[in-house]
Structures are given as structure tokens and as C-alpha cells.
């Protein structure tokens, strides 16, 4: 290592990146409380991360590049369907990356939730969807269109509510694969941010308070035997507002 790993100026970054184990994270929070300069540094790093995330969104590779690679390698062309919907194998591959653990001991301790495969899969599905040309399989702000679309594809069609009045318009839905089961996922928008809301019948609440996984916030709750998990790059308080709005709206129906 080129510098002392315990230098608090470096640990601020590891803290913001969610790379610290709970004990080190708590210790950092104590230091933030007693050291305004360190807390200001944390605020600057968070502001920078947020600015990059909002201003420099992921860009799709040009379609011509995919074609050029396929033809240069002599690959058979596939129907375009494959590009707009992640294949089971592609999804499985991205799950492998989400739970990937490097070998070799370091002074980092893993956050326990990093081992939570379901949480990782839900976040991975959201990331995969953001990388696809469309983050949903059906685009509609009309819940009466979205719900029937699920009926033909999923055993338990999810409860679909529109939250446009609360600032979270419905934009569509898609089917994710969590483990080996197809799962209904609703897609909502808040300003420029997308929220994926997966409904897993009989599932368990995997993140009762917001958890940061790979730069995304995850929040889950259970209702009538269905576990809902919302994932987004929204700030945790905004995601909690979304969860409250969804629970309030679905209670009315």
C-alpha cells in the first residue's frame, strides 16, 4: 500500500463508497461528528459523486459497434430481441459479478449484506435494465395497461398503482429473474431517476432500512405476503418517500 490505510482522509472515500465494515463506518461517523473539516470533506465527495451520477449517465454503445463486432468475428446475427431483453444467461453472469468476492485477505471486512444474494440480484436486475435500450418490457403510464400485461406472464400479477400525483409517475413494467423465478418489476420515475420495484410473493424483506449496494439504494418491505424491493440511484430519504407513497396508495385499493 502506498499510504497508511487508516488515514482518515482516505477512509472518507471508503465510507462514501460503502466499502467499510460496520465497525469502521461507525468510527467514521463518530469522527465526522467531532471533526467538521472531515465532515465537510465527506460532503464534497458525496456532492461530486452525485454530480457525476446525474450529469454523466451511462451511455449505450452505438448499435453500429455491435454489428461491426459481430461481423468482424463472423458471428451469426441474432434477432434484435436479444439486445432489448437480458437473456437468462446474461443475467446470471451479472449476478455472478455482483456476488464476486476477490480472494486474499485485506483489512476490509465485507458488509454482511454484500453476501445477500437476493439483494444483489435485485440490484443487478436494475443495473441490467438501465443498460438496456429500454428499462422496461412494456412502457405505459396506465396501470390498467401494465397489470394485464403481467397477467399473461407471471402467476401473481403485482398490484399496480400510479404515483404521479406524489411525484413518482409509473413508466412501465418488466419481468426480472430472481434466483430462477420470474418476478414482476414495476418501473417508476422521479425527476431523471428510475426506480425498479420488484414484487416477490412469499419473499422476505431483505433491506428494511435503505441499504447502499454498488452505488444504488435498496429498500424493501412486506405487505400481504408479498415482499417489495425498491432499488434506485435516488437518495435514501427520497426512496423512503417513494415506499411510503406506494404503501399508502396500495392500501386504498
Amino acid at each position: 500500500m502506498t499510504v497508511s490505510p487508516m488515514d482518515p482522509r482516505l477512509l472518507v472515500h471508503a465510507y462514501v463508497d460503502g466499502e467499510l465494515d460496520p465497525a469502521h463506518a461507525l468510527e467514521m461517523e463518530r469522527q465526522f461528528a467531532s471533526d467538521p473539516a472531515l465532515a465537510a470533506e465527506r460532503d464534497r465527495v458525496e456532492a461530486l459523486r452525485r454530480a457525476i451520477r446525474e450529469q454523466l449517465p451511462a451511455e449505450a454503445a452505438p448499435a453500429s459497434l455491435t454489428r461491426r463486432i459481430e461481423s468482424s468475428l463472423g458471428l451469426r446475427r441474432e434477432a434484435p430481441r436479444a439486445a432489448s431483453h437480458p437473456s437468462w444467461r446474461a443475467l446470471a453472469a451479472s449476478v455472478v459479478l455482483a456476488v464476486f468476492l476477490a480472494s486474499g485477505a485485506t483489512w476490509f471486512a465485507l458488509r454482511p449484506d454484500q453476501a445477500d444474494a437476493t439483494a444483489d440480484m435485485i440490484v443487478a436486475s436494475h443495473v441490467r435494465a438501465l443498460m438496456a435500450p429500454q428499462p422496461f418490457d412494456i412502457a405505459s403510464s396506465d396501470r390498467h395497461t401494465v397489470k394485464p400485461w403481467f397477467n399473461g406472464r407471471i402467476a401473481d400479477a403485482p398490484r399496480v398503482v400510479d404515483l404521479a400525483d406524489q411525484g413518482f409517475p409509473l413508466v412501465g413494467g418488466r419481468v426480472d429473474v430472481i434466483g430462477r423465478a420470474p418476478v414482476a418489476t414495476l418501473v417508476y420515475r422521479h425527476r431523471q431517476h428510475l426506480i425498479s420495484l420488484s414484487a416477490v410473493p412469499g419473499g422476505r424483506t431483505i433491506a428494511a432500512t435503505p441499504k447502499e449496494i454498488g452505488g444504488y439504494n435498496l429498500l424493501s418491505w412486506s405487505e400481504n405476503g408479498t415482499a417489495y424491493s425498491a432499488v434506485s440511484d435516488l437518495a435514501a430519504p427520497d426512496l423512503e418517500t417513494f415506499a411510503k407513497a406506494f404503501r399508502a396508495a396500495s392500501a386504498e385499493r
Binding site: D17, D43, R44, L48, A51, S72, A90, A93
Partner: protein, 188 residues
Amino acid sequence: MGSLSSEDDQARFRSVVLPHLAQAYALARWLTGDRADAEDVVQEACLRAFRGIGGFSGVNPRAWLLTIVRHAAYTWLGKNRSGSLLMVDDLEAVERKQASAGALSEQGPETPEAALIAKADAARLESAIAELPVPFRETLVLRDVQGLDYREIAEVTGVPIGTVMSRLARARGRLIARLGTEAPGGVS
């Protein structure tokens, strides 16, 4: 090994490499600074990935592909922008010197307000990131644009996690100083 690729290799390439093409392209673009050059780099990287697909372990395809893209980009930079690669060695030397002196004073006395940094627009961020030396730039891009964690960045860039941390801290420190002192919309 036959001269014609097997159906298996083709299917494997599709499932392992193609889902991460956007990220491969993004890394190549940040390293070369040019869209057309990035396409050349990604095509070369895909050729290498296709040849090596049989030996891929199956673990973390994104990090595997990005490692290949980075190597292809470095080869390209060596041929076309040898100046930017010379800086890698210089930087490593500077980093070692600073480490032996025990100093982490990249940021100096500048302590801009977080609110000022939050206001940075896309153009200013792009140019500030593009001006970072390659080792800092790739570390920052892999973390803050592409969302890799520290272990994955260490794997892709072939350095220990401690080096990832110090490069990330320096990259962010430079961006914060730059974005915090320059007047919004101003040109330096």
C-alpha cells in the same frame, strides 16, 4: 484449436461479452477521449476476448472484459498518444515519493463548498475528468461512472486496493479543487 469458432464459443461470447459492451465502450472512450477511437479499441478488445473466451473462468465477466479493454486501450495509447502513457511512469514515481514522505497533500488549502461542486454541469465534469492523468482517470471512471467496487477496480487495473484508494482520493481531490475554484460556466 480449429480455425473456425465453435457454436459454443459464439454463444459464450454473446452471454459473457456483449452484455457489457456499453461499459467496455465507456471505458475506452474515457481512456482515448474519442468515440471513433473507442470503437476501434473495443473491437480489438472483443477480438482478444473472443480468442480467450475458452480460458475465461466464468467469474465476473464485466471485470474480465474491462481488463482486456484497458490493455487494448493502453496498446492504442502507446501507438497514438505515447505522451499520455509516459505520464503513468512519472505519476507512479511521484506517488511513491509522496508515500515515502508520508504526505497526502494533493488538495492543498482549497476547501470549496459542497454546494458549488454539486452545481457542476456535464461539460465541466467531462473536461475536468478528461484532464486527469490516466491512472487517476481510469480509477475514478471505473468507480464513479461505471460503479465497480474497490476489489473489481484493483482487479481491472492490476494494483492493490490501497493504491486504488489513494488514486481515487487524488482523482476526486483534483476534481473537487478544480470544480470548486473555477467559476461556473467559466473557461480556464
